[in-house]
Amino acid sequence: MKTILDKTRALAAMTDNPHLEAARKQGKKIIGYFCSYLPEEILHAAGLIPYRMRAVESKGTMRADAYYSSINCTFVKLCFNKALKGDFAFLDGVVFANGCDHTRRMYDNWRYSKIGTPFLHMFFVPHMINETALEYFSLECGKLKSSLESHFQVSITDEALEKSISLYNRKRRLLAEIYALRKNRDVPIKASELLGLMLAVTAVPVETAIEILTEVKQFIEGRVISRPEDLRLFISGGCIEELEHLELIENCGCVIVADNLCLGTRHFHDEVETQGDPLRAIAKRYLGHLSCPRMMGDFQRRLDCLLGVRKEYRIDGAIIEKLKFCDLWGAEMYLYRAESKNRGIPLLALERELYGGGAGQIKTRVQAFLEKIRNQQATDEGVVRAAGTDYKPK
């Protein structure tokens, strides 16, 4: 019999899915978005279904290569290739954001390639977290609201926004509770399963997502997937959507227990306040939530997140990943390297292409990394005396 995690895994592997199909039959419209800085509540309050864009089921970048170059990222090219092939024809609109240079240019390419999506909107997200930026971001949220109202002939009331906020907060809370279970010594859910879950709940109506999450929470209660000897890792990076990639890492003898990923903690970190002006509260949450390197001057908070979970989740090491040609995560790697060296956190920096293969190389690097941590731990505890050539007694 299929478990709920098998179902979410199946949903994660699809571009379109039966839940969206059912919603469409009821006359609901679906809006794609790319970035965790996009406030889903505004779309939901307009009666729309937010759908996180994904490259799953992609069959290459041949068509997108006519628009992008060889030094643009694979996630964007794979997604755009799907769009050109008509795989996103079920969308009634797409809201783009200036998450990075590659995705912000998709707004341009999408318009000029005449894919035919009826509603296209560019949503500006500031690169700073301060009062001035919040004010401007609130204005942008207002512009998105007006644009949706005008195109879809709906009225987004404060009551509707409050209702949406409440639903999305519930979803966030459930996700946070599921993630928090990984603090335990016996971990009930793998990172690959969680990624499947995240992909699923960002591709279905929020009401369905809440049902799925409730079921998953019940299902994993008392479940143990980790082994006592598994090392506990933190993972951070940009776009990761291959479940197999995380499985490959976890099958090397570790369990990923915490993260700072788009399809991870960043998605549910911090709730929207339920007091005051709802649009302003939404702006505040989305601008101020756990950031990625696109937010300037906020590295300390990202580092604090790692240091916090290191203690709380008993992290043995960290992996930071980037896709090729990603300037944002490329520079973040420098910062992680510098800080992990200063603070003695074992760190593995990986670079790869999305759906780009190279599993053997990645496996070797992960195995070597885990072996190094084990040797260091064993040596530091005085159990084993010779580990690696780089061993330096404390």
Partner: protein, 462 residues
């Protein structure tokens, strides 16, 4: 390459420019000296050629006429003052504020502080003939800077790591034009430990966007007052901005006059002026240089005389000029009679700044900054690029376009298909070069010469 001594490259650049400053005080003498020595540093690849070609060609290489050399004299002075100020800053205890290359430094000039462009060596580092920028980039990469980051910022990091530029008291950077600026300046801040102010460029260019950027400007003033422990001198700022307005006026006029056939100016002049602007905006020497060049170009324009004897090809140059091959425009003029009549960086189209009140000055400065080269084209939708290209094709009568595809500009590469389509529709022959404007490891001077030569030949221009 050997590890340099602290400040070796900056000192070398300052000394060379200082020599250039004195030499250009005698423009006729320097013109003939450079012209007679030209076969030594241009034609063949010799030790002497490698060592001195870049520096000699920067000074005009015997092609720039004496009157333009006389104008460059003032630009050289502005460079020298800034570099010497940087070299002496520690000794004098003067705060040094790093102002990243896409941000303008007027406000820093209104404090008792030295604005310093930390990317300086990406251009001037080449003057030693020793490929200094590559060494600096390799240093940054070897210490963890991402290979894909823009080479300009890798040069900054490498310069700091090898102690070639002064330690910053504060840093001013921004979110435009690209992701490297957004992310790698966080690494630079971490590396130096200096407090940083980040400008956040809006996506659109409307009144809301100008409001937002204006607020950024006010925040910058607060930041500098706090970190420099000084108050902004508004009278000084007004003086700087008035100089800047004149500077921009002259450059804008020069760019307008370049629409004429034949073009009365070489694009190398506005590009050189852009470098001067980066380092010393508001400096009376910079303004004097612009005024003199304006007078020269205007005289040629009125006489209907071109900058080259026979203008064969009119070129649009898209993306920044090549730092390690800065004289590429002169080389094209010399070899093919190909004149770059409009480019991405040198073209000035900033609005004038109203200095009637403090508020008006800051407001207009915000607008002005969003019209600076690169900020103007790169921070918003592709129409910011296409409309500028459209206008250039309409107004400058180009025969072709050369796209210097800088590896760091991934936002530009991300709309390369749209740019190609647009140019195809306009029937403009175009050359797209895969290269890096500061990093010869991607494509060398020889590669670029070969590509351009083949492009001109295959399109029947030569």
């Amino acid at each position: 390459m050997k590890q340099p001594r602290p400040f070796q490259y900056l000192k070398w650049s300052a000394d060379f420019l200082n020599f250039g400053y004195y030499l250009t005080a005698f423009p006729n003498l320097s013109y003939w000296a450079l012209r007679l020595a030209r076969p030594l540093y241009v034609r063949r690849e010799t030790f002497f050629n490698r060592k001195f070609r870049y520096a000699a060609l920067i000074l005009g290489g015997g092609i720039l006429p004496p009157e333009e050399i006389a104008a460059y004299h003032y630009g050289a002075k502005a460079f020298v003052d800034n570099m010497k100020g940087a070299l002496k800053a520690n000794e004098l205890g003067r705060p040094v504020v790093w102002v990243e290359w896409i941000i303008s430094s007027e406000i820093v000039n209104a404090f008792d502080a030295l604005p310093f462009n930390p990317e300086t060596l990406s251009v001037f580092g080449n003057m030693s003939g020793e490929d200094v920028p590559s060494q600096l980039m390799e240093e940054a990469e070897s210490r963890g800077f991402a290979a894909e980051n823009c080479s300009a910022i890798k040069v900054t990091a490498g310069s700091y790591m090898l102690k070639q530029i002064p330690r910053p008291t504060a840093i001013i950077a921004g979110s435009h034009p690209c992701d490297t600026n957004v992310s790698a300046y966080q690494s630079i801040t971490h590396l130096t430990g200096a407090p940083a102010f980040y400008f956040d460029a809006p996506y659109w260019r409307d009144e809301d966007a100008f409001d937002y950027y204006e607020k950024n400007m006010w925040c910058l003033i607060d930041f500098l007052e706090k970190n420099l422990h000084q108050k902004l001198d508004w009278d000084r700022l007004k003086e700087v901005v008035e100089n800047e307005n004149r500077f921009n006026f002259y450059l804008q006029e020069i760019c307008e006059m370049m629409r004429a056939i034949p073009s009365p100016s070489t694009m190398i002049t506005p590009v050189f002026a852009w470098v001067v602007r980066e380092i010393a905006i508001g400096d009376p020497n910079a303004t004097e240089m612009a005024r003199r060049i304006y007078e020269i170009v205007k005289a040629r324009y009125e006489k209907g005389v071109g900058v080259v004897k026979k203008e064969n090809i009119r070129v649009l140059w898209w993306n920044p000029p090549i730092a390690f091959f800065a004289y590429v425009f002169k080389w094209m003029e010399d070899e093919f009679g190909a004149v770059v009549v409009k480019d991405f960086i040198g073209d000035v189209r900033m609005p004038q700044i109203d200095t009637s009140s403090e508020r008006a000055m800051i407001r207009d400065m915000a607008k002005n900054h969003l019209y600076l080269a690169m900020a103007r084209q790169c921070h918003g939708p592709v129409e910011f690029i296409l409309s500028e290209l459209e206008q250039a094709i309409e107004e400058y009568s180009p025969d072709c376009l050369i796209f210097a595809g800088h590896a760091g500009c991934k936002h530009g590469w991300a709309v390369i298909g749209l740019i190609k389509d647009f140019l195809k529709k306009r029937g403009l022959p175009s050359l797209f070069m895969n290269m890096d404007i500061m990093d010869q490891r991607h494509a060398t001077e020889d590669d670029i010469k070969r590509w351009i030569t083949e492009f001109f030949r295959s399109n029947g221009f030569v």
